[in-house]
């Protein structure tokens, strides 16, 4: 589903991705962990080209992102993204946040978009907030709306960029449980997170990144219980 080959990316003179190879299968939940500055968020943001990359290639669902005839907007319709800071549209109600893209991008009629939005709000447990504005929501509620907003486009892949890092501790659970449900339904997911419990429980595979490389990858139980690489051991000993 996602093929990444020798991905390289620099910000000015600082190279943050030094050659990433990854292959993500349909329905797989891949969790990316690693210290700050390891390049994991940049890697994720390259997958829908929110961040342009310098070398290598990314192929999503058979489409090469850097090919000349690739319509990036079409690719992005199929790749949902959830941000650390929610990025809800503050001038719109929750309902309009969710229906905007399906109506303007997918050209759905309003009734269809609203029915879909209400179904998704029910799924994330926020049906009663449909007509609220984002600034009246708690962090956990806002992030669940953001997930519903991404799902409304019916994407094939969901990217999560530290979705619980900006939340108060008591709200982390409600967001993770929505993500867990999504994983159980077979969504292909790439999740950058510091939630090791989630990685272990929900992840099919864990990638450990450090210094712009994928240092080690494997099943959660292998990587967490029997890390092979020194840097992985050092990192895990600090976070577990």
């Amino acid at each position: 589903m996602i093929d990444v080959r020798q991905l390289k990316k620099s910000f000015g003179s600082l190279q943050v991705l030094k050659g990433i190879d990854a292959h993500i299968r349909e329905g797989e939940v891949v969790v990316v962990i690693g210290p700050s500055g390891s390049g994991k968020s940049t890697f994720l943001r390259c997958l829908n080209l929110l961040e342009d990359f310098d070398e290598g290639e990314i192929i999503i669902d058979g489409i090469n992102l850097k090919a000349k005839d690739t319509n990036l907007n079409k690719v992005r319709e199929e790749v949902g993204m959830v941000f650390q800071r929610f990025n809800l549209f503050p001038h719109m109600t929750v309902l309009n946040n969710i229906t905007l893209a399906p109506m303007k991008v997918r050209k759905w009629p309003r009734e269809k978009a609203e029915a879909k939005a209400m179904e998704l709000l029910a799924k994330v447990g926020l049906k009663d907030k449909a007509h609220a504005y984002p600034d009246s929501l708690s962090g956990g509620q806002a992030q669940r709306v953001a997930i519903a907003r991404a799902l409304a486009m019916e994407p094939k892949i969901m990217l999560f960029d530290e979705p619980t890092s900006a939340l108060d501790p008591e709200m982390v659970g409600e967001v993770l449980s929505v993500m867990k449900q999504l994983a159980n339904e077979g969504m292909t997911m790439v999740v950058v997170t510091h939630e090791m419990g989630f990685a272990r429980e929900v992840g099919d595979r864990v990638l450990f990144m450090d210094g712009g490389y994928i240092i080690e990858e494997g099943k959660p139980e292998d990587l967490f219980d029997r890390p092979q690489h020194e840097r992985t051991k050092a990192f895990l000993s600090k976070v577990l």
Partner: protein
């Protein structure tokens, strides 16, 4: 001290004409300034420096030189290229438009760039084009923040239209000067003129407060 209301009464029809002219050139300056300014502001934000360059210099020139000089250049330099008998009010409206466009461009740019970049990223990640993201996400939020600086700029524009006097454009100030010249009086004509400008600028600032309140409810 005697205050000669008869002078004001005599000149009332002219002040009224001048008022209409001032409103006319100011509206033209605001409308064309907004349209041209949006265009220049967008050009100024281009990611290519070669595209940015002419727009930056437009802004540099019109913000960095006195309006009175621009009015003289437009009326005696540019307009005669197109018209045998340049009309003072037209020249004034053109000068005000060109000048306010530079300030409007910077207001647009500052307003758009003040919106958190996560908003654009979220919109693009949903498959929206850059234009859709601008239209539905960035501009509605940015315009709200632009209301106070726009009001400020257009209040200045209304007052600056009085500089039309230097090319004998018959706006309010022109008639004030005419009355002052005829009767050698200072207070009656100039206080009347000041009072009319005050009415115009206060109306505009009330309108701005109303818009601010209207759009801040969400």
């Amino acid at each position: 001290m005697d205050f000669r209301f008869d002078i004001i009464a005599e000149y009332a029809p002219y002040f009224f004409q001048g008022l209409l002219a001032t409103i006319g050139v100011s509206l033209a300056g605001i409308i064309f300034g907004l349209i041209l300014g949006l265009f220049i502001g967008l050009g100024r934000m281009s990611s290519k420096w070669i595209v940015r360059l002419p727009f930056s210099w437009y802004i540099n020139f019109f913000r960095g030189t006195p309006l009175v000089v621009q009015i003289l250049l437009v009326h005696f330099g540019v307009m005669p290229l197109f018209f045998a008998q340049p009309n003072g009010l037209v020249s004034l409206a053109v000068s005000l438009s060109l000048n306010s466009a530079a300030y409007v461009a910077e207001i647009f740019r500052a307003g758009i760039q003040s919106i958190d970049k996560g908003q654009m990223e979220a919109a693009r990640s949903l498959g929206m084009t850059h234009a859709q993201a601008m239209r539905y996400i960035i501009l509605p939020q940015a315009l709200k923040r632009m209301i106070p600086p726009f009001a400020n700029e257009f209040i200045v524009l209304i007052k600056d239209s009085s500089l039309g006097m230097v090319i004998a454009a018959p706006e309010i100030m022109y008639w004030g000067k005419a009355a002052a010249g005829e009767y050698y009086r200072v207070w009656e004509p100039y206080l009347t003129v000041a009072f009319i400008y005050l009415l115009l600028t206060l109306s505009l600032s009330k309108l701005s407060h109303y818009l601010e309140r209207k759009y801040s409810t969400q």
